[in-house]
C-alpha cells in the first residue's frame, strides 16, 4: 500500500493507470446499474475523468 501511494506521489505509471482503470470501470458500472438514477447522472463525469487520467498518465515514466 505504501509503495502504491509512493508511486502515485512520484507520478509513476502503474499505480496511476490502476486508478484510472478503476475510475473507468466504476463509471461504466454507474452508467448501467439499475439501482439509482443519481449514479447514472454522474456516471459520465466519472468515466470522462478516468479516461482523461488514463490518457495523461500513460505518458508518465514506468
Amino acid at each position: 500500500m505504501n509503495a502504491f501511494l509512493n508511486g502515485l506521489l512520484r507520478c509513476r505509471r502503474a499505480p496511476w493507470e490502476a486508478v484510472a482503470s478503476i475510475l473507468i470501470a466504476l463509471g461504466v458500472f454507474m452508467l448501467m446499474q439499475p439501482f439509482a438514477l443519481v449514479a447514472f447522472t454522474y456516471s459520465f463525469a466519472v468515466t470522462l475523468v478516468g479516461t482523461m487520467t488514463f490518457i495523461i498518465v500513460s505518458h508518465f515514466p514506468e
Partner: protein, 315 residues
C-alpha cells in the same frame, strides 16, 4: 566503376553524414507510408468526431438546416443523463452484454478445450462451427424473426421437441419476459465461434513441455487444468471478452432487425435508441451529446483493452 558524380560525392561523404542521409530518407519513407492512413482517419474519423463534440453543445437539427444554431452549453448532457428512459436502455444493454458474454465465454471456452482434444476431423467441425460468424448480422436478425415465429418457426419446434411444451404457446419476440433472451440467444449463436477461436489460439500457444513437466511432478489432470490451462488461456479469454464487450456495447444491426427494440422498448439497446433520436426525431445536437457519452465510455474501455492486450503480447 566509381566514376559518376554521385559516386564520387558518396565516397567523399564522411560516414556520419551518409548515415544521416540514409536515416533521413527512411524517415521520409516512413511518412509516405503512414500519411495516407493518418489522413484518411483524420478525415473520416477525427474530423467528424470533433464536429460531433461541437454539435453536442448546440441545438442543431439536421433536417432543418435553416434554423439558427444556438450554443446551449451542457444542457444536452444534462437532459440525457437525467432521462430515465435512456437509463432504461442502458440497463437493457447491460442485460444483453452480461448474458451474451457469459454464455459466449462458457460455451466458447468449453468448445475450444474439447476441440483441442484433437479428435479426428476436428478441423472440419471447427470450420462448420465458425460459419454463423460470417453471416451479415442484419440478415441473421431478419431471418431469426422467422425462426422465432410461434406457428411456423423452427426454434419453437426445437424447444417443443426437447421439452414437450406446445410450440404455439410462446413467442420469443412478442413476449416481454422472453424478448431480452431472444436477442441473447441469437448473438450467442452467432458469436460463440469468435470466442472459441481466440480460446483455441490460446490453448494452442501453450507449449507441450509444460504439461510434460507437470506430468513428471505427478500433478493430477484437474490440477493441471487449473494451474496451467486456465491461467495460460485467461489473457486470451480477456481479450475475447473485451472485444465482444465493445462490439456488443455498440450492438445495432442484429437487434434492430430482430426485435426493433420491442415489444415496447424492452430490447431497445442504446444504439437503437440513439438511431431513433438522430435519424427519426432528427435531434442532431442532442444525439451528438448522446454519441459522445457512448464514445467516451467505449474509449475508456478501449484503453483498458489495449493495456490488457499489451500484457498478453509481453508474456
Amino acid at each position: 566503376m566509381s566514376n559518376t558524380a554521385m559516386d564520387r560525392v558518396a565516397e567523399a561523404t564522411p560516414p556520419k553524414v551518409a548515415r544521416r542521409i540514409r536515416g533521413l530518407s527512411d524517415r521520409v519513407i516512413a511518412w509516405i507510408f503512414v500519411a495516407p492512413t493518418i489522413a484518411l482517419l483524420l478525415a473520416i474519423n477525427i474530423f467528424p468526431l470533433l464536429w460531433t463534440v461541437w454539435l453536442s453543445f448546440t441545438n442543431y437539427r439536421a433536417n432543418r438546416p435553416n434554423l439558427p444554431v444556438q450554443w446551449i452549453g451542457l444542457r444536452n448532457y444534462e437532459r440525457i443523463l437525467s432521462d430515465a428512459d435512456i437509463w432504461a436502455t442502458m440497463q437493457a444493454t447491460a442485460h444483453f452484454l452480461f448474458w451474451t458474454l457469459f454464455f459466449q465465454v462458457v460455451l466458447g471456452f468449453a468448445l475450444a478445450w474439447l476441440i483441442n482434444r484433437k479428435f479426428k476431423g476436428n478441423d472440419l467441425w471447427t470450420t462448420i462451427i465458425v460459419l454463423p460468424m460470417m453471416l451479415s448480422p442484419a440478415v441473421v436478425g431478419n431471418f431469426w424473426t422467422f425462426l422465432y415465429q410461434p406457428q411456423i418457426g423452427l426454434f419453437n419446434y426445437g424447444i417443443a421437441f426437447l421439452t414437450g411444451v406446445d410450440p404455439t404457446s410462446f413467442s420469443m419476440i412478442g413476449d416481454v419476459a422472453l424478448a431480452p433472451w431472444s436477442i441473447v440467444i441469437v448473438d450467442t449463436w452467432m458469436w460463440t465461434p469468435f470466442v472459441m477461436l481466440i480460446c483455441l489460439a490460446g490453448l494452442r500457444s501453450i507449449p507441450d513441455y509444460i504439461y510434460e513437466a507437470a506430468e513428471c511432478d505427478r500433478a493430477s489432470n484437474w490440477r493441471q487444468f487449473w494451474t496451467i490451462t486456465v491461467p495460460m488461456v485467461l489473457p486470451f479469454l480477456m481479450l475475447a471478452v473485451l472485444f465482444r464487450g465493445i462490439e456488443n456495447f455498440k450492438m445495432f444491426d442484429l437487434v434492430v432487425q430482430l426485435t426493433g427494440g420491442g415489444p415496447g422498448s424492452i430490447t431497445e439497446l442504446t444504439s437503437i435508441n440513439l438511431k431513433r433520436e438522430a435519424f427519426e426525431k432528427w435531434r442532431t445536437g442532442y444525439s451528438s451529446a448522446y454519441a459522445i457519452i457512448l464514445f467516451v465510455t467505449v474509449f475508456g474501455l478501449a484503453s483498458i483493452y489495449v493495456k490488457a492486450l499489451n500484457k498478453v503480447k509481453d508474456r
